[in-house]
Amino acid sequence: MTKLTTLAEAVGSIPSGAHLALSGFAISRCTMAFAREVIRQGIRGLTISQCVGAMDMDLLVGAGAVDRVIYGGGSLDRFGRLTCVNRGIESGGLQAEEYSSLSVTFRYLAGSLGLPFIPIRSLRGSDLIKRIEEQTGSDVATITDPFSGESWLTLKPLLPDVAVVQVQCADQEGNARILGPRWDNPEQVRASKRTIVIAEEIISNDAIRQNPEQTVIPGLLVSHVVELPFAAHPTSVYRAYDYDARQIENYVQAARTPDTFRAYLDHLVYGVKDHQEYLKRVGGIDRLDPLRADPTLGY
């Protein structure tokens, strides 16, 4: 059964107020084209979760589409911080539930396995846990290990409505591969009610069946598959293309003030009707071709 559809239709399936788990990590495999379309469609009130906050999250927050983030901290690596997320936190306009990488991972893992709770050693003694307890008394608890009698912090499973995952390739049914490290993506997909796969390339179901050990996302968890080259631009997709340093710097500059960010959105999000127009506006094939990955190095 093909689940192949357009980006607009996949995004259209997301109600305002939904909880989305996004696949980006800093500046790699971010769901950028997806985020731009969410903004164009005016979807709002979202909760975004991610083990490490990334550019897709920051863009959505900057555009006002997000009420709440659940994450383990994040940055744009050397390019800068998550300026829009940080501004939201500093102004109090954004509810930020801030964990560590492993604690968000374990929350996804518990969700993915149908565990009602999961114990963890992290967070103890830190101000992170103090803050989380103040914000949401209901997502963490201390219980007694029945075997040792020790006290253990336990986390509530995270159960996003939709995981949105940028991959290198998938078949029409949503069976997808992820090349390079997979960070939290396998658990995000399995914890979520359903998954939207954004693939650089659609491969045949036959190709999937020839190397089934490599399938990271089983099609049965997937509701929509979108084929969209350069969908993660300006972030990188391992073995497909490198990050676009100039465009990330451009973003970081723009994010410094709400006014310049608004201009950025007008130019590169609202000002283009779709991903194809976006790619043309950032320089088209002349700009994108040099980003294509060297087949040996993968970047």
Partner: protein, 254 residues
């Protein structure tokens, strides 16, 4: 002729010297990466380097802008996931050394990477934890690398992102945590922690600095050994490896 080296290079070398062969090391980007690769290419060839997002033992040929840069994953032996690295290796208790940087630290090695200012009033939010809290909580020991400035070495920090010895003494154990910071390496000195009070203690001073230089540029008074030696300077080979092999573009050491 005296060997020419920068304070950053000495920090990287001092970090490398803390690592032993066959240890498992969880590192963040920047100086910890340089220190780890330096150790691996000199006295610790069987060391295992981990990056939290799912990378084991990479052999990069190019420097990257961060952990999300495929350049730093190059020629890894394993590319997997957070669950695999932070769960099945770190949380399982197999990481010998966590290598962390930060915005601020205090006399007990607690680390802040979250925010500067007053968290209840006006503050600037920075990066947050990533895997730092997990590493500081679960590694057998942690090494902190940080610039030596009074605004970074403070009596009290704005936010405890990653636990050191908390309020000192046995407060870390009482919170249910093992391990803890073993060293703080700055561009002026190397610090350890008193085995009982858990207070930061000057262990050695980098050549070219006096004890007053060290103490006068900190926001708190550390304990001081009776005879504080100078830090051993880098060898010619260590400096060459850093400059020619590990960071030829000066991206991490800049």
């Amino acid at each position: 002729m005296e060997l020419d080296y920068t304070p950053s290079e000495l920090m990287a070398v001092a970090g490398a010297r803390e690592l032993q062969d066959r240890e498992v090391v969880a590192v963040g980007l920047g100086l910890p990466v340089v220190a780890s690769f330096l150790a691996k290419q000199t006295h610790a060839p069987n060391m295992t380097i981990l990056f939290e997002l799912g990378v084991i033992d990479p052999e990069p040929v190019d420097c990257g802008v961060g952990l999300a840069d495929p350049r730093v994953w190059h020629r890894a032996t394993v590319l997997s996931s957070f669950v695999d690295i932070l769960g099945a290796i770190l949380h399982k208790g197999l990481v010998d050394v966590g290598f962390l940087g930060g915005l601020e630290t205090d006399p007990y090695g607690n680390l802040n990477t979250t925010l500067l200012g007053d968290p209840r009033a006006t503050f600037r939010h920075m990066v947050g934890s990533g895997g730092a809290n997990d590493i500081a909580s679960c590694a057998r020991r942690t090494i902190i690398i940080m610039r030596h400035e009074a605004r970074k070495l403070k009596p009290a920090i704005s936010f405890v992102t990653s636990p050191g010895y908390l309020a000192g003494g046995d407060s870390r154990e009482r919170a249910g945590l093992h391990g803890g910071p073993s060293r703080v390496i700055t561009d002026k000195a190397i610090f350890g922690f008193h085995p009982e009070t858990r207070q930061m203690t000057v262990l050695s001073i980098h050549p070219g600095n006096t004890l007053d230089d060290v103490l006068g540029t900190m926001g708190f008074a550390p304990a001081v050994l009776q005879h504080v030696p100078y830090t051993q300077p880098p060898t010619r080979e260590q400096v060459r490896l850093i400059r020619e092999v590990i960071d030829p573009q000066g991206m991490y050491m800049g």
